[in-house]
Symmetry: C2
Subunit: 374 residues, 2 copies
């Protein structure tokens, strides 16, 4: 069923989107301000993917760049819609709706900016089911919808169109180069598709899931309940049913550099109990968590660092020495764990040697994990 | 008057274009092979700029990249015309003719490849009056025709369109990034304009000048005459009337690196007579020649290194220790020496501190220089 999203929903959505950003995806709080500035007291129509007409024409919109730059380079506000318009002009066809390409971080918000500006509805689905650092890491592509042509808008009105046919990695490679030369951030429209394509290739209802997660955390806090059970409960009714607490501890080291348009690095967390070494490696997003060198969670499963008490999500650029954190592992939907999906955004796609192993353990058949200490 | 160019003209054209490349512009001999492969025994119509209909629609075509890469990465042959087609589709208008954007090096040849493939005529003019390393260094832009939208084709069929409005330096900046990621070479169509625009903004008859120079050198050799007087005589009937011999000597040092998509470096030449130090700095093309630190020729005037006897032009990537060379300075047309032109491609545009000084000396009123020792 389609539903209406208003400015009052944005803080919850931002919190949930930050969690699903798994450390990356850019800062959705900046996105919140952008949406609020355009939306006012109106509402955005959010379309359920199951109800889309087959021939609905959807143009997803997003921001591209390193989150470390995004927080210093706030969009003027016109670029997101400009990217949609560039692609519409190029294709000679106007969009009936927009959609996120990722459901974590600022890219949950950018399509809402476009929707608020244009009056278009937003589809409640995305192509990453979380945040990933590269444009080719899309379930859209895995299941046959390719990103080209991609339209890219710069803050000084630059217009770029990139068409690499069905080679989405080459699209990413070229678009990244342009984004770097635009100062580290560009706004893009890509993966244009029909309603039927959305149902076949997108991860469904991730916008409403982000909103539900953010809301559950807030309400638990308001009612002085630990938020972790609320998170587990919310996830249990989604395609992401398994939550596992991977570590509770203190951040004791963070290495981070912005290189080739990405924020790359690692964080070391000293568990509160014992002498184990817990480490997370990231490229914009958290990629792998290891305890004493052994993998405990790995892409595409979600590795989320949150405040140890409030469950406030902490992005890779927000990691600081001394923070008390809880690291959560969350299972991704089965459509993100197929061999084709893992080839696109599994461990090997990030240069990791370890194979994918479900965060919930072998077989994936255990019930949703309770969070014992929360 | 329009004229016909056949495959028999290509070796002379290549020789002249290499001279006008002032060390850069890519290897026109590779271009010759490309043209021959497509042209066969047909002819290309070359249009005189003074006779173009005002509303003739001209799309210039070129190759973009570092010459050090170009000689290792020969185009498949389809990219030059693909770039034209991409721009035609984007603009919704078909070209009536193509034209070089520079008259030196391989970019004298690329429009001929397009002409041979498409049957379009080529306009006898260009926008650099020589070769320059950047797409924004165009008399077109100086006199009001901007490069955007630019279409860029890659060897795997990649299609890119870049539109930066009237900011040609930003266009260069973004297109260079894409070219680097395409492996160092891209094929472009840009600076679309009318026949009236050509007359107002292009350096006229540089294709026929390159052909005349190459032919004069060949005939002088065939008749066992020194070629330098033939070069001077040919230039005296063009917009480039002043030729000065800057140095005769031996190459004793070459520094060259391919960086940020350009071939940058310097060559040191020991004059045959005396203890002077003669040095040329280049960025794809030769930028400045100094004798004992004092400028003797500087962009946009032409600095051409040729074999000391045969006058065969030597490109910056062809410079070798021990070569006996003659360095020629050639005056550029007045339209390339205005304050606006010097702002676009004068010494300051290359980070050189010295002001422009005409190679023929102050006033520029001396008669065409004889070449005393040739």
């Amino acid at each position: 069923m389609s539903w209406l999203l208003t400015a009052a929903d944005l803080p919850d959505l931002a919190r949930g989107a930050t969690l699903l950003g798994t450390g990356g995806g850019g800062d959705p709080y900046i996105g919140t301000m952008l949406v609020e500035g355009v939306l006012g007291d109106r509402a955005i129509t959010v379309l359920d993917p199951d109800e889309l007409p087959d021939d609905l024409f959807v143009i997803p919109t997003a921001q591209m760049g390193a989150p470390t730059v995004m927080i210093e380079k706030i969009p003027a506000g016109t670029e997101p819609t400009l990217s949609l318009r560039i692609l519409e002009e190029h294709l000679g066809r106007t969009a009936d709706a927009t959609m996120p390409i990722e459901c974590g971080g600022i890219n949950s918000m950018i399509p809402l900016v476009v929707a608020a500006e244009t009056g278009l509805p937003v589809v409640d689905a995305d192509g990453m089911g979380r945040a990933f650092p590269e444009l080719s890491m899309e379930t859209f592509a895995v299941y046959g919808v390719h990103g080209s042509p991609l339209a890219l808008a710069g803050e000084r009105g630059e217009r770029v169109i990139i068409d690499t046919g069905d080679d989405d990695r080459q699209m990413e490679w070229l678009a990244r180069a342009v984004t770097i030369r635009l100062g580290g951030v560009g706004h893009i429209a890509e993966y244009a598709m029909t309603g039927a394509d959305v149902r076949r290739t997108a991860v469904p209802r991730t916008l409403s899931m982000a909103l539900a997660l953010g809301r559950a955390i807030r309400i638990a806090r308001e009612e002085n309940r630990p938020p972790f059970a609320a998170i587990a409960d919310t996830l249990s009714r989604t395609l992401y049913p398994h939550l596992r607490e991977l570590c509770v501890g203190k951040v004791i080291d963070v290495e981070r550099r912005t290189t080739e348009g990405f924020a790359k690095g690692r964080a070391v967390i000293a568990p509160l109990e014992g002498e184990d070494v817990f480490e997370i490696a990231f490229q914009n997003e958290n990629l792998v968590a290891r305890r004493n060198g052994a993998v405990v969670a790995i892409v595409p499963d979600l590795i989320c660092v949150v405040d140890h008490e409030t469950a406030e999500p902490i992005t890779t650029e927000g990691l600081r020495y001394g923070q008390r954190v809880r690291v959560l592992g969350i299972s991704t939907p089965e459509m993100m764990r197929t061999p084709a999906a893992l080839a696109a955004f599994g461990p090997g796609a990030f240069g990791l040697d370890e194979p994918f192993a479900p965060v919930e353990g072998e077989g994936g058949s255990e019930p949703p994990a309770a969070v014992p200490r929360a």
